[in-house]
Symmetry: D2
Subunit: 299 residues, 4 copies
Amino acid sequence: MQIKDVLVVGGDLRQIYLANRLSQINKNDVQYRVYAYALEKNADSLENVTVVDKIEQIKKNIDIVILPMPVLDIKENINTPLSDLVVKTKNIIQIVEDNCIVFGGKIPKDLIKSFDDKNIRCFDYLQREELAVHNAIPTAEGTLQIIMEETAKTIFGSNILIVGAGRISKILRKYLVGLGANVIVSARKAEDYAWIETDRCKFINNKNIKNVVKDVDVIINTVPVKILDKDILTQINNETLIIDLASKPGGVDFETAKRLGKKTIWALSLPGKVAPITAGHIILNTILNILEELEEKHE
Amino acid sequence: MQIKDVLVVGGDLRQIYLANRLSQINKNDVQYRVYAYALEKNADSLENVTVVDKIEQIKKNIDIVILPMPVLDIKENINTPLSDLVVKTKNIIQIVEDNCIVFGGKIPKDLIKSFDDKNIRCFDYLQREELAVHNAIPTAEGTLQIIMEETAKTIFGSNILIVGAGRISKILRKYLVGLGANVIVSARKAEDYAWIETDRCKFINNKNIKNVVKDVDVIINTVPVKILDKDILTQINNETLIIDLASKPGGVDFETAKRLGKKTIWALSLPGKVAPITAGHIILNTILNILEELEEKHE
Amino acid sequence: MQIKDVLVVGGDLRQIYLANRLSQINKNDVQYRVYAYALEKNADSLENVTVVDKIEQIKKNIDIVILPMPVLDIKENINTPLSDLVVKTKNIIQIVEDNCIVFGGKIPKDLIKSFDDKNIRCFDYLQREELAVHNAIPTAEGTLQIIMEETAKTIFGSNILIVGAGRISKILRKYLVGLGANVIVSARKAEDYAWIETDRCKFINNKNIKNVVKDVDVIINTVPVKILDKDILTQINNETLIIDLASKPGGVDFETAKRLGKKTIWALSLPGKVAPITAGHIILNTILNILEELEEKHE
Amino acid sequence: MQIKDVLVVGGDLRQIYLANRLSQINKNDVQYRVYAYALEKNADSLENVTVVDKIEQIKKNIDIVILPMPVLDIKENINTPLSDLVVKTKNIIQIVEDNCIVFGGKIPKDLIKSFDDKNIRCFDYLQREELAVHNAIPTAEGTLQIIMEETAKTIFGSNILIVGAGRISKILRKYLVGLGANVIVSARKAEDYAWIETDRCKFINNKNIKNVVKDVDVIINTVPVKILDKDILTQINNETLIIDLASKPGGVDFETAKRLGKKTIWALSLPGKVAPITAGHIILNTILNILEELEEKHE
């Protein structure tokens, strides 16, 4: 039985659930001793996890450090919404040593460089495809929740347009069809059309969105490109709900939408908001996958 | 082209949407001239509907009267949440004449008798099986919404127990399985077990509920019998969400549940709350079905 | 541990698989010692089952006798397609004694009377609702198989009419929608229409079948009433596949269909044909349910 | 209205259905005059298509030539199973002129070169991703058909292993789960595992296949690599059905499988066999997509 020391630093509820689950894992003869730092406001929710008050308490030879998602807040300190502590990136750099492995979501380039300079291996789990796929599930569920909360009709029988044919579109349209919606998906490529049809949805080319927006109850954008511009927005009924799932700058001209009286919701980072337990487990599983791949390479 | 005069009286948003839709219908060469009474607070939402301020304005030979659901409020007046008017049942009885047909949800016995005495045909749409089936959809969607709002996990991967094997159970378990939940349904009869299995759920006998409640994330009761008593409640984790969909007296010993710190939600009348447009259309379609059947009999 | 002696008599592959499975069961501290009679042609497939050559070998105090489905052949002997033996019903009556329980499918009235006269309990499993529900699955799968074998299109994208809204219709339309067909179901009652809609199919009234038959690739009848008469058959394209699942007299005027050159398949008793293992297990489970209910009553 | 002349040469039923459908199309103000050559045995099935007996009859300025799939037979002539004619590739090269566009499936390199030398544009539709996706549907349906025909159980409740996580796996596992099978999919990458889980299947790593094969009723291989070798085959029950969908050399050591008495089916080119109408339409749609893209480039 091997014991590995893990320090979980900052972040939101996802880090709490990640820490709890990690402390229960016993796989391939490895167990984890988990320390939490800068999560003290929710210390009550931590189980089998040692809360560390001061960074000096952390013993130097820690095996794994798990930074939050996103790693930094707007002041460029470590993002610690569940703590009153101010944690600087240099505090973290100081405590990691030779064989430590660092994980985080959206790790800034200069921090990566700092770890590199110390020969510390560092991985941004946000760049892993399996995390993106798994996150599509809470994102899709959160989108269903928004539709249910914001419309006075059932999803059953509603006409719904999804802009984009990526991961979230794939999960979301399957869910919506299962709930009895009439779904139309806009895309650009013949192969995307083929997949859309196999999911029993209709397809249109992105450039023809204008022709269908006036007949739908809900529009969900998944593409980080300003597709819903003034030209299209003017075609949309004021009763139609527009949900934008695309990260900045988003796919909707929000200013114009507001001026025209359109009902618009920009729903970012749904997994952490609607299902923090699941979102924490998804991050943890991705980290464990990376660790397993490192082991395999090593063998 | 035949024109029928319809008076929609009182009720909530469902009556508004019912009135609007009815005014658009043109079927079998019949059109409807729709009057709304005791809905004046939402007059802005009415389209092609004449708002009547005083009951005296209503001309006597009205063809159809649509009372709300439920017909009466706690003071035994007509239920008029979107109005400041007080409408007595006798006001309604006075205006209906010989060939008028009256519809309503949960019409009290003595009101039915009053109409009978005047030879007025009167139908309670709540007793129609197709309304119950259609209402199972907004009820199921509303239940999904509650689960999503109240739990920190995705439905995907959650363990969910549904108590009961009726209409709502049938729709709800299909939705939950489609969203990736592991669903177990409790019932009593071998034929119910068979249907449960065909929906790719596990089944247990109601009397064995106690054995599984501690392993589920969500419990949904659909049976109007106190099944979740103290004995079973003590077995349930405090993290588990209990949703009771059963009409009074409900299926949960709420007092004990509260004392034990269980997370319980008694979710009644979901269709009108989560999807008033759809709920209004369902009522309207049921009324139109009844009218069609009357026509057929007549022929 | 209690041992019960069971005699399995005659029948097809379903009896073989029923016998094998029964010999493996160990539930509620009961085990079964299984004897097979009049199944000798497939003796090789029997496992842990004692093959009995002559009825005299069977010891008198047998606990359970399982007759085949159907019990009788056209000569009114026990139906024994996997045997050269001629087994008379009186042979069976002779060997059963006081506490024996007899099971069978389609037990003729006079045989039931003979058992009654001897105070022998006798159950026709075909009258059990759960057997009918479970059998709807192999029936639906068999229907899919026929469609796949007999048409040159995929089910995906095909237009399919199902006549009837009973058990088989419910399972079959779910499967067909899942495979991407456009399904229309004909029925008679508003509540059936409601269920059909919840399964994302269109509905029509039986009396309007004539209007849609010319636009479908496949017609599946599930109702044992001659609905597809000459009047309707003449409307159907010669490329359209007609599958009749209804037991005698069937729902198709086969003579006229043949004369008009329609492609018609009368597919009876699909479970035993397309999935004898599953069909045998379904019968066995129904028998075990009946035995369990007898135990419970007894307690 | 523009008229384009199209010559459909050789091939099987897919070419017949492709020709018929093409003759009905009227899109973007273009219509097609369709000639069929070397399809005379099924001339009766052709509608609005002119059958050409001798290649000399074909007028020189043909716009589009559609060769069969595969283009060549084993003698390296054009593949003409529905004709007694011997058609040489040089016959085709002779009739095409400057602006003609040639389509075919599996066009050999030297034929491509011949067209290039004449400045004829030539496209192999088999290399189009959307054709591969669409073909996954008849392939999956054909696989269901084989399972139904070759096993004595229902798919409902069966344990099924799919080797591989590509297009066919994605469609097939969705169908199998919908029909109630317990599906396990073997793959190699964490992101494939993620997609497999979202489809409510279990996943294993390809190298652990050996551990599960003995517990499944059906194994479906989709990977053109000899994964099912002697080592794994010996673990498989003789009742288990093995279906290999992989193109040559296939994924099964067939010789060893046969020697060990395993039930193996190598099911190649299912779309053309089980659903020639659909397969013909898929090819045609792909050709029309290519033509549309050429138009757009031109504009």
